[in-house]
């Protein structure tokens, strides 16, 4: 059926929800200026050779997009709570069209977050070649796939009152273990754990802009594996989620 109109209305709804929109974009932005602003003239952060605005810009991009993807799940949980999900189930809207609309709206928010933070970084003197900007952006968007799927899964498994703490805690933990706030040591337990997390590779995607190497094969495997596992989970959660909430 015509899932495109459904997607269009979902995008429209997201843009119209001013509180959600402003908070989603605003929070990473404020954090960025709070941390990077006072350090704008630090050109060699902790001896890494990277300027503070650049380092915190990419940290905020991974944090902001990650939480953006999971917040899309909170919107799903809210829809379920008012019974709208059941109303959609008794329409001809296919599972595929539904999921596509949800993923696209989540990506729209992620892309806006990225653009706003890039602009903010540039305003504090971050300057990269066009190739770097593009390469980084594409890798970030790919690394976000498992998070988009995770958002849908939790949206169909949790209630609006439980999803807040779950998303807050989950994003914090994944950001911490993924090296958003501080670099992960190059060996040891934390290093080993980080390597199998999608958040680590999300952060590494941005590190391409820092002159680091592009993703190794391992990164692609980790992202693909998480995507498959979480997609199965999301699909299952959606299929089972027909009861009254």
């Amino acid at each position: 059926m015509n899932g495109l109109a459904y997607t269009r209305y979902e995008l429209l709804r997201t843009l119209r929800n001013r509180r959600f929109f402003v908070l989603s974009l605003g929070f990473p932005l404020v954090l960025f200026f709070l941390i990077a602003g006072p350090n704008r003239n630090v050109h060699n952060l902790d001896g890494t050779g990277i300027s503070a605005p650049l380092y915190f810009m990419i940290g905020m991009v991974s944090f902001g997009t990650m939480s953006g993807m999971l917040s899309a799940g909170a919107r799903i949980a809210a829809e379920r709570a008012v019974g709208w999900n059941r109303q959609l189930r008794i329409s001809p809207l296919s599972t595929r069209s539904y999921l596509r609309a949800k993923v696209l709206t989540a990506y729209m928010m992620a892309l806006l977050t990225i653009l706003v933070l890039y602009a903010s970084g540039a305003s504090l003197g971050v300057s990269l070649s066009v190739g770097r900007w593009l390469q980084m952006t594409v890798l970030i968007l790919i690394a976000l796939i498992p998070f988009a799927v995770l958002g849908i899964a939790v949206g169909h498994m949790l209630t609006p009152d439980s999803i807040g703490p779950a998303v807050g805690g989950g994003v914090g933990l994944l950001a911490f273990l993924g090296g958003t706030w501080f670099p992960i040591p190059s060996s040891g337990f934390l290093h080993d754990v980080a390597q199998i997390l999608p958040s680590y590779w999300l952060v590494q995607a941005s590190h391409v802009a820092l002159g680091g190497h592009p993703w190794p094969a391992k990164a692609w495997i980790v992202i693909a594996a998480w995507t498959v596992v979480l997609a199965l989970l999301a699909h299952r959660a959606y299929r089972h989620d027909t009861g009254r909430v």
Partner: protein
């Protein structure tokens, strides 16, 4: 002509230890308007959920237009209004209805759906700013914009005011006249009486009666006699000719009568003290209470045929038992 819209056979569903639906059989022909009547907890919503494919039966089968509910829903043959449910926010009434319309292969014109539900004037309003009655009307618009052959409505008028209700039923009549099959759940007896061709009565997860609303009324004692008669023996009263049951309400007695003409003569002959006598037709309300207030072991598995006893109205169970014979045993 009389293709089956819904065919339910041996349907069962339990939630833990609660047997919500305990083996029911119903067939609804295309074009029928059927009321699914019953008190809260009778199993109406559970039955509707299974007909819509929202929940899987534990046993038995449901078919909608000859196929599975999922297939019928996927083909856009079903429009429904669920019992609970608000609207998603950040769209206007018109946009929300248009969004739902876009999902159906042959939907109604959006403007027409808004007109039919009296929403044209508030089409531009955001869904989060509506009153309860307006929300209910939008939910109705969402169901009927599908222009589906089958409309399933679970207690559609619950949150509506009197005027909204009247407008709703006017529209429903129009839809029925267009040949739609309509199944609506309600606990308002007048609604079943006024708008349905047929009423299916549910209680405790079983069907206790199935027939035209007028016949349901005829099934129970056709009239009741009420009289002030202190100290009378109920058993003796119940044994009077034409009386099928007797009950005491303070100083008064209430006699359920199979034949009130015979009964009133016998009463006046045997009890000259009787005063303040009223003879009234038993309403559907009374039929309803009588048919649904029988003793059923709620935790038992049940088999779909329940002997209805008339505990609510009188000690005598003859009228309701007769109802069971008339409707419960026949082909549904």
């Amino acid at each position: 002509m009389s293709a089956r819209a819904i065919e339910v056979a041996g349907l069962r569903k339990s939630y833990g230890k609660v047997h919500a639906v305990r083996g029911i059989d119903v067939s609804i022909d295309a074009g029928e308007t059927v009321a699914l009547l019953g008190p809260n907890g009778a199993g109406k919503s559970t039955t509707i959920d299974m007909i819509l494919g929202l929940s899987e039966p534990d046993g038995g089968t449901v078919s909608v237009f000859g196929g599975s509910p999922t297939v019928a829903v996927g083909a856009g043959q079903v429009g429904a209004m669920l019992q609970t449910g608000a609207l998603i926010r950040d769209l206007s009434v018109g946009e929300l209805v248009a969004m739902v319309a876009s999902l159906y292969p042959a939907s109604l014109d959006v403007a027409e759906a808004l007109e039919l539900t009296g929403l044209s004037e508030i089409a531009g309003q955001r869904t989060q700013k509506l009153s309860g009655g307006q929300t209910q009307r939008v939910r109705f618009a969402v169901a009927l914009v599908s222009d589906a052959k089958l409309l399933v409505l679970d207690e559609p008028t619950v949150a509506m005011d009197v005027e909204g209700r009247r407008a709703f039923w006017t529209t429903m009549r129009e839809l029925a006249a267009r040949g739609k099959t309509i199944l609506f759940a309600t606990h308002y007896l007048e609604e079943a009486d006024a708008y349905a061709d047929r009423a299916v009565l549910m209680a405790h997860g079983t069907i206790v009666a199935d027939g035209p609303p007028t016949e349901i009324r005829a099934m129970v004692g056709t009239r009741t006699i009420r009289a002030t008669l202190p100290g009378a023996d109920l058993d003796a009263l119940a044994g009077l000719p034409g009386v099928s049951g007797a009950d005491r309400r303070g100083e008064s007695v209430v006699l359920s009568c199979a034949d009130s003409d015979v009964a009133i003569r016998a009463l006046l002959g045997g009890y000259p003290d009787a005063r303040d006598i009223e003879i009234a037709a038993a309403g559907l309300e009374e039929a309803f209470l009588q048919l649904t207030a029988e003793d059923v072991d709620i935790n038992g598995p049940g088999d779909g045929t329940v002997v209805a006893g008339g505990a609510a109205v009188a000690g005598g169970s003859a009228p309701a038992g007769g109802a069971e014979a008339a409707f419960g045993g026949g082909e549904r």
